[in-house]
Assembly symmetry: C2
Homo-oligomer: 313 residues x 2
């Protein structure tokens, strides 16, 4: 079994794989150039290798990626490749990042950070808001949305959630559930909006000028999902004209974000480099998932969780 | 009854006081200069008026302050003045501020904020830490410490608490309780240390060079209590030499912090202007407490909560 590792593993991690999986031959590629020389070789690839190269991988049967989103690998479904993801590993991490960002904006910390840069003691006791009574709208109620809701509850936020399907009473701790067609109603009630939808043909560009017009004046927009869910020039316009009070943006339609992007310099925008779903132990957690799946694959059994390209998550 | 309001109330708030308390004569002073001309006049003062002026207020019987800490008014106890405080109103607010700061350091956000200033996309997936398994040491377990503990629990932090008195099992959610004499043991185990003690003769300068030597290497220090609990030059030294990984400082021995203070410019320090206990609704909450107390005072009953100068909180 030929396994290509598109991951920057430690020597110890690689040696352990070789010891524990003697029936596998492992090769390592950590750049697109190295991978390009190996495309015909592997049956299995571990890591978020460039999709355009994997489409040329004639022997590839199974791809284990690190991310939860798999939109960039949509073309592989026509090649009979099973894609398994990191789904479930990132959600608790992202939710903690989102909690931090929600608090930053509730507390007006973007202002105090700016004052610190200027060595300026500028008290604004009317700037921080109580968490109690602030409404957070969760656009997407999968792993991330549910965990954000759980973390927000002890703080007294009122929580709204958009779900694809729903009937009956709202889940515990959720004030009200909205179906997709009622997105604009959720936006009209939310002081902060957290976007955690998958990128699919349906959701691409979902947040355009018309959508931002439906936000409450001064609302805060969080995107930890995919940049292409958003019309970024409409977002910029609404941040500049004050319709939006601020944004926490971890993802962009083009990454890395160019040094001359206007998002970097806006006082009410917090830019992070697609890091919301990461921490120092994630690599080991994903490797562990790969090892469990590899054991299963070698035994002729299924691997999980498999990307559902029809559904998009 | 002569009542001096050392608060910047709205006209509506003042008019409501005059209507609701017809037996009181209200005067307003919002600067030390205005107050200095009125020191012999009031029996009651509402607001954190300068202590040195209140010591000359010969008719003063009751002072309602806004803050929870009352260390600066210690001299009034010899003048037979009852001091009531804002105790209980700030703790939930401060705890939300502390939660935000704990998350900022857990997530390495001070680094990403610096990168944003430089328009630099610098992913550091090994910088953010999991919240699970990180240890937070609460030095002080009054209203602030208890609320911080409640908010941290859903995030998986391990929580230690220092209490003045304790026996039996730790409170729910607390991993271990330390008595004051075991402070250094708590410090040795804590990744982040939150200081929320009152300032008393006992606690002044409690965190000096010897104390910082007991911290874990790279630990984060939070102070939302009083600057004078800390030897600030020892703190600076330990932030500069890397013994401490960072600090979130809301209070300083001299406030406002001078523009040339070195704390402003340290990359791993977050300075806020004594704002941790504030939000836009606090003023109304404190006014409501004053109104309830004033009603009681006029009826010859007690006012609360009264500062206990012997105990210090």
């Amino acid at each position: 079994m030929r396994v290509l590792l598109y991951r920057d593993l430690t020597a110890a991690q690689l040696a352990a794989l070789q010891t524990d999986f003697p029936d596998c031959e492992f090769r390592v590629a950590t750049t697109a150039g190295e991978l390009a020389r190996e495309t015909d070789w592997p049956e299995v690839v571990f890591g978020n290798a460039p999709a355009r190269l994997l489409q040329q991988a004639t022997q590839l049967r199974w791809l284990q990626i690190v991310s939860s989103g798999f939109d960039e690998y949509a073309a592989l479904q026509d090649h009979g490749v099973t894609v398994t993801t990191g789904q479930g590993l990132h959600a608790p991490i992202i939710a903690r990042h989102v909690l931090m960002m929600i608090l930053l904006f509730t507390r007006g910390q973007w202002h105090f950070a700016r004052c610190q840069q200027e060595h300026r003691w500028d008290r604004k006791p009317l700037l921080p808001k109580p968490t109690e009574g602030q409404t957070v709208g969760l656009v997407g109620f999968g792993g991330v949305g549910q965990e954000v809701a759980r973390l927000l509850q002890p703080l007294g936020y009122r929580i709204l959630a958009l779900k694809r399907q729903h009937s009956g009473a709202p889940p515990a701790g959720i004030d009200r559930v909205f179906l997709p067609e009622a997105l604009d109603e959720l936006l009209a009630e939310s002081d902060q909006v957290v976007l955690s939808l998958p990128l699919t043909p349906e959701t691409r560009g979902l947040f355009g000028a018309d959508r931002f017009a439906r936000f409450k004046a001064g609302a805060i927009f969080h995107n930890i999902a995919r940049g292409s869910l958003v019309d970024e020039s409409a977002l910029l316009e609404n941040l500049r004209n004050g319709k939006l009070g601020g944004a926490a943006l971890d993802v962009f339609s083009d990454e890395p974000l160019a040094p001359n992007s206007p998002f970097w310099g806006l006082a009410n925008v917090i830019v992070t480099p697609h890091i919301a779903g990461h921490h120092r132990e994630l690599g080991a957690q994903v490797l562990q998932r790969f090892r469990v799946n590899l054991r299963s694959y070698l035994a002729g059994n299924s691997v999980a969780p498999a990307a559902n390209f029809l559904r998009g998550y």
